[in-house]
Symmetry: C2
């Protein structure tokens, strides 16, 4: 079972937008145990799309998924490119046309009636033999059989793409194809507080290949993600070996993020969390509240970017900032204490640091961050020294801070 | 001048990580006026990388840039793949070896001396004839001439990739190649408060192709990004036509983000901004503080996720929440007022809404958001009704809220 993805979009080729759609479909296929061989990103030109699809089919892909290029204008040519690659013509699909007309009727009429109808007919023109997929926006997707392979054509806006992919997966012919991958979804571990090089050495020593396992390691800021294929007793044995070598490092075995793990631990204890953020400016709160239902365990926070807000919003004594500086263990501790008191929370995370690119000094360089973890037994402050650019330092700080709280909750 | 990118990484193929490196290089090339023809994402297998590089060269690319696969372990085989595609052997580069040894010496020794030296020799083994690029981490990149084309090999960790790409661009042979694109960097406009379909109709009517212009439109949550090529009097005329058709919509002509534009406007007035966030949980503060130097105009915020924090942290009267609900124009207004008073700011943005997926009711469905904009003349509240998933609603809310403040600052 081989899959290939063709992502269309000049904005991705010009680096103005990160591809979300290819990643979404790839993750969905990986969860079904299907390995994507290649993702090809091309522009909006008809022949670029056609050749990418044709190459994927010629390369032996059983499943080709395209995203983007299904809009109402003449620039949107993915359906035509797929028809050319498959060697079939284009026809108006009456069912698709009705669905598009119904979808257009629900959005406010900004364009003329004639423009709307022209657009609708264009969006309902599909490769001959294709099955239309209902449009979450106004663009229907399609599934086309080409020999023994299937081509699934999805729209470009990420939420439309995700919804149409769900429709496609529900079709019997797609479900049957994906069924071949079933049961071989990999084990997906997440580890924290592990040095990558040390981990890689341990993996090499264990020689998973000799055991018939394929182990993938992906370093994320502050974490490692490890996939082990195929699942089964040998994989479980390998996990036990990792547990022994890196005690306490594995924090999730089901792909859960640290946000979810921390939220579940807080919820289980009935503890509320409050945050006090300086250099991360709200990023920690944003990541915690990316979890649906986080209001059950997250009360809120203070983004104390200025010293004045550290004093007024968190009760950090002005003298403390004068004596030790805003980026100091003392201020991080006072911020965590203030967050618990002011926000009425049993637990707190406080962050103050130098994210750069400016503001660093020899004593307090860019990347120096203090994290205060508050709980019923008081506040503990941790000093971090991080490398990288502003966004990397901010993102990594939040990840490490959540792991520090996770460890505190587990003890 | 044709460029192609080859991104290696099983984690990208499995959808666990968004590709940052291809996007970074693509954006850098686009800014130099070089159009990327294709981005190919492949896994770590030697032959997959080799064939992607070989296809790019065979397809007539003048510049091929690869990212990833330069680590010390036997899984990292991009250098070997490039050598195979170019038809040259592999040799230890003494200069590269010295650079790797020096880089390794600065990081704490976690691995044995022998493992480190083996890794160093592996990382210093380059395609014959390649020029080594200094390693920001421990992996040197390389530039290899293949006929008239150049292959640039970059490491995978995003900040190492970006730094090595800068080194590569400084090499005379790469600079000369990129020079061919110079002077044709596109005009890059950003627009807000425009309906995409309406905008596309206007573009179609204006027929830029007949004027010799290539116009690219990219919809982002709440914004449109428009690139116009080539720059010059005809492009300027086209911008004037857009200004007339969509008065006030163009908010940046140099690629500035709304965060940067709002920050500059606040700074010019000497006004401080404070935020009060409920459903966005800190995302607005995180986006504002992604701008280096934002402390000059951003004081901080209150993430009032719970009603208790809305009352204690922002002074929202409990009765107001009881009467109108936490998601209401009244509470948004009180949050903005509270943010100005509590944070000592002349300007405030307050956000309260239903981000979903749960929590919606027929009266207050998922996607209903109230944004309060506070200033010297008081508070104005705007009602938004957004579609999409939780992250899309949160991200779009922040973008729209910043545009509402931008408009208020301009009046």
């Amino acid at each position: 079972m081989r899959a290939a993805l063709v992502v269309t979009g000049t904005e991705v080729l010009e680096g103005r937008v990160r591809d979300e759609n290819g990643a979404m479909v790839a993750a969905s296929l990986a969860a079904a145990g299907v390995q994507v061989q290649r993702i090809t990103v091309v522009g909006d030109a008809l022949d670029d799309i056609r050749s990418a699809v044709a190459e994927a089919l010629a390369g032996g892909a059983d499943l080709v998924v395209t995203t983007g290029g299904l809009g109402p204008t003449h620039d949107d040519r993915t359906m035509e490119a797929v028809a050319l690659a498959a060697g079939v013509g284009m026809v108006i699909d009456q069912h698709a046309l009705e669905m598009v007309r119904a979808a257009i009727a629900t959005v406010p009429a900004r364009a003329s009636q004639q423009t709307r109808e022209t657009g609708a007919r264009k969006q309902a023109t599909l490769p001959e033999g294709a099955v239309a997929l209902p449009p979450p926006g106004t663009a229907p997707g399609a599934v086309l059989a080409v020999g023994d392979a299937l081509v699934v054509v999805l729209p470009g806006p990420p939420w439309e793409c995700a919804a149409t992919w769900e429709s496609a997966r529900a079709l019997p012919q797609v479900a049957a194809l994906l069924g071949h991958g079933e049961g071989s979804a990999p084990l997906e571990l997440r580890l924290a507080n592990v040095v990558e090089s040390e981990f890689m050495e341990a993996i090499d020593r264990a020689d998973p290949e000799a055991r018939g396992l394929v182990v993938g390691v992906c370093a994320r800021p502050g974490e490692l993600e490890v996939t082990i294929r195929p699942p089964g007793p040998v994989a479980d044995e390998f996990v036990a070996f990792l547990e022994q070598g890196f005690p306490g490092a594995i924090f999730a075995r089901d792909g859960s993020t640290v946000e979810q793990v921390v939220g579940a631990a807080l919820h289980a204890r009935g503890d509320l969390l409050g945050t006090a953020e300086s250099c991360t400016g709200g990023l920690l709160g944003a990541r915690l509240t990316s979890v649906p239902g986080s209001s059950a365990w997250y009360a809120g926070g203070v983004v104390s970017y200025s010293n004045a807000v550290k004093e007024s919003g968190l009760g950090v004594p002005a003298g403390l900032i004068d004596r030790h500086g805003a980026v100091s263990a003392e201020v991080a501790g006072a911020m965590a204490q203030g967050a618990m008191e002011r926000l009425g929370c049993a637990r707190a995370i406080a962050i103050t640091g130098v994210a750069g690119p400016g503001g660093g000094t020899p004593e307090k360089p860019v990347g120096l961050v203090y994290v205060g973890i508050g709980g019923p037994d008081g506040v503990t402050v941790h000093e971090l020294r991080l490398h990288g650019d502003r966004e990397r330092i901010r993102m990594r700080t939040c990840t490490i801070a959540m792991h520090l709280l996770r460890t505190a909750l587990a003890s």
